[in-house]
Subunit: 458 residues, 2 copies
């Protein structure tokens, strides 16, 4: 066999998400005055049922039936043993991957977009706004809105809008309206365009536009959605790891090593949090979040209070950060180009429960190409970072002769990112190494903010 | 549930293909002198083991273990009941689809590319050539060559090469070399370029280049491959229908109506041939091949002897045809823009065992959009033609109140064809209606060739 696959039956799909906030403590988000924000202050931006989920410390949270119904389109997702990759590497390691590329939008993102749209619908919301960089989150939200009959407006960073025409067409197929950001539709957008009519845009600007569009709708029936970073997003993604645990049991194995790429943290959290619980209770597992070397939030950033967005509109979050005005080099992994990291993932890193590492984009594409040539599937550039680490671990196992069991998350496929592969084959991908001075500059902005407390969960 | 899915276990995958030539007779291919060609005359183009398969009349042919291994990457493919689509249509019909979009190249094509590459490898061949229009076949061959370690050279029609950059990148990820056709690498290509340096190319020219590149390799280690039309291609695709039969049994249902889009005939044959066998033995099934109205081979063409390629290099095949120099209008379904139809499929049509029908491209995209908005998956433009017919049948069932069971083949996904969806939403898709005079012109060329005999299999 080139692969061995365990598919769960539909009735084996987990009925609850795992909430890691039952088992770890995180520093609370702070408002502009430096004191913890109240749930009520977020009400114009998010529906109250999701805000409650954001602050919940219940360990298990029921997945609503209507969410399970939509999940049934692609879940349970397969767990696959990559036999052909093991052979090509000549490793005694067993390599498994959870295949999240099988969803209609092609990534793990709909695990949370479907849930978020559901809760908004239940709360009476008619329209959702969001920003998107590479386009995976925007596509996932458009898909989820088409399932529940909500309107969907996506502000897509202009440079991506122009470079990736297929992404906006994908959102359009699902009825989503995608505009290039900055747009003329918001005060934030108009202000930027006035200064610089040819700006390529940025995620920070797009967030500002999406939030403004939500809170300024006078009907009160519009809200904003975010595809990563927040606690409830990590929560929804845990279905990945919960399924993977069941499937690993059916293979009769348990992972020694778990790997996920990490941008805002959501696919990494989704696969690993249920296993982090085991690690807290005695299991020996090496857990690696893999970042791009060009945007090394966990590996070279500081654990600080910082804003989630460039403009500084969001509350201060306790997280690893490169500084909210850090502009990552233009690596071809839009989903990993984020200055911060989910507070929950950051907390685990600060406690040493996970072991951050990084890969350059050339390493990543080399690994992804090897994966495609052995297993057929063309991975997303983001997922290639995880694969690079998996291959390092598999080669280490070959050298030591250890039969390691390695599990990683294939967060998405690369079919709408094939242009970046073309650049890789043309030797046009630059490998960026950050100067220390860049990081030192970033540190200055942290001095203005409070310091997170040192917390220890276990 | 939005969907209900039956996945087979890996050990339930069929171990044999079904060869319809055991149950129907077709007129033999003829050489330039009007007499049946010998298998040996094809030896410079195809390996002898595949030529033997092309003429075999054994009903069941074993699938080699090494082919099953590669199939395991995506097979058995899911059979899905489209509950959400039934609800949206308000139909009492049960709608099932076989999801062939889950293969790495994204279509049914690797069912035969994997088999063809395997047989070529066993025969000692080191390199394969082919042509591709829209790119699905080229991608499938590159994928299969990467699995067996053969070189792969693809001549891609220039206009598609320029319009669909992601397709050539996809082939490149799997190590395939894709050049725009006409190229400077063959006599055929150079001759065309000399006359018209800016020609958009055509499938006919690309076939000529790929055949020339194969037969002119002096090492004798290069052969040509074809992705549709031929008997052995239809044979390899029957795994679709054989799996679907097992899965329909698990659902406890049997189809009253079966639908597949039809260009050269391979995905249609793959799903339907095992059910055609049942129909020959008493089952009542309506079986619809669906063509684009712009290229209505079965619905408006003639059952004649004609060449498979534009230039007239191939043997004469007994098939429905619009004439080998018919140039289909530029509909956005590259896989359906073919003047002929597989001789086996043509024979079934001539005997009334299948009921050809057609859809316009606007009907097709409308149907595909409804499918995407209910079930998430964005179908290939080709598959949209099948969906258009399925929706017609489901609405008919609603009107008559009959609980019809409808099964169709989702031959591929549309992620690399999203540009055509964008044109659909911009109301830029033209609906082509062929003048009768066009068809009458085509008939003239048939007068020069022998007439096929009227054969009756049952």
């Amino acid at each position: 066999m080139q692969v061995e696959t365990v598919n769960l039956n539909p009735d084996e799909m987990p009925r609850q998400w795992y909430n890691i906030l039952a088992d770890i403590k995180i520093n609370p988000p702070l408002g502009p005055d430096g004191t913890p924000i109240t749930p009520e202050s977020l009400a114009p931006v998010f529906p109250m049922n999701l805000i409650e989920q954001e602050v919940s410390t219940e360990r298990w949270i029921d997945i609503p039936e209507d969410v399970l119904k939509v999940y049934s389109i692609w879940r349970p997702s397969p767990l696959v043993r990559a036999v052909a990759l093991e052979k090509a590497l000549g490793t005694p390691a067993h390599i498994y991957f959870k295949n999240e590329s099988v969803s209609p939008p092609g990534s793990h993102k709909p695990n949370t977009s479907v849930a978020q749209v559901y809760y908004n619908k239940v709360f009476g919301i008619k329209k959702l706004t969001t920003e998107t960089g590479a386009g995976q989150w925007g596509a996932a939200l458009a898909f989820a809105c088409s399932q529940f009959g909500l309107e969907c407006k996506i502000y897509m960073v202009r440079i991506s809008y122009d470079q990736k025409p297929y992404r906006k067409a994908q959102m359009q197929v699902w009825g989503g309206v995608c505009v290039a950001s900055p747009s003329n539709e918001t005060n934030a957008g108009r202000a930027i365009l006035e200064k610089d009519p040819t700006t390529p845009g940025s995620l920070g600007i797009a967030i500002s536009e999406a939030v403004e569009a939500a809170v300024s709708d006078r009907t009160g029936k519009t809200r904003y959605t975010l595809g990563s970073v927040l606690n409830h997003v990590m929560l929804h993604q845990t279905i990945i790891g919960l399924e993977a645990k069941l499937q690993m049991e059916k293979f009769g194995e348990y992972p020694d090593v778990i790997v996920g790429c990490a941008g805002g943290g959501s696919n990494f959290a989704g696969l690993t949090f249920p296993f982090v619980y085991d690690k807290m209770h005695g299991k020996q597992i090496d857990i690696y979040p893999v970042e791009p070397a060009a945007c090394p939030t966990l590996t070279r950033g500081a654990f600080v209070y910082d804003h989630g967005d460039t403009a500084g509109y969001t509350p201060l979050l306790a997280m690893y950060s490169l500084g909210h005005d850090f502009v990552p080099p233009p690596v071809h992994s839009g989903g990993l180009r984020y200055h911060g990291m989910a507070p929950t993932v950051s907390q685990l890193a600060s406690e040493g429960l996970i072991t951050p590492t990084s890969a350059t984009q050339v390493e990543a594409f080399k690994a992804g190409t090897m994966f495609a040539r052995t297993l057929g599937i063309i991975p997303a550039p983001e997922s290639n970072h995880a694969i690079a680490q998996v291959i390092k671990e598999a080669i280490k196992a070959k050298e030591t002769g250890e039969k390691k069991v390695i599990l990683f998350n294939l967060s998405g496929h690369g079919l709408l990112d094939l242009g970046s592969y073309e650049k890789y084959f043309a030797n046009e991908l630059q490998d960026y190494v950050l100067e220390d001075s860049v990081l030192k500059d970033a540190e200055k902005i942290f001095e203005a903010f409070p310091k997170p407390k040192i917390l220890k969960s276990i």
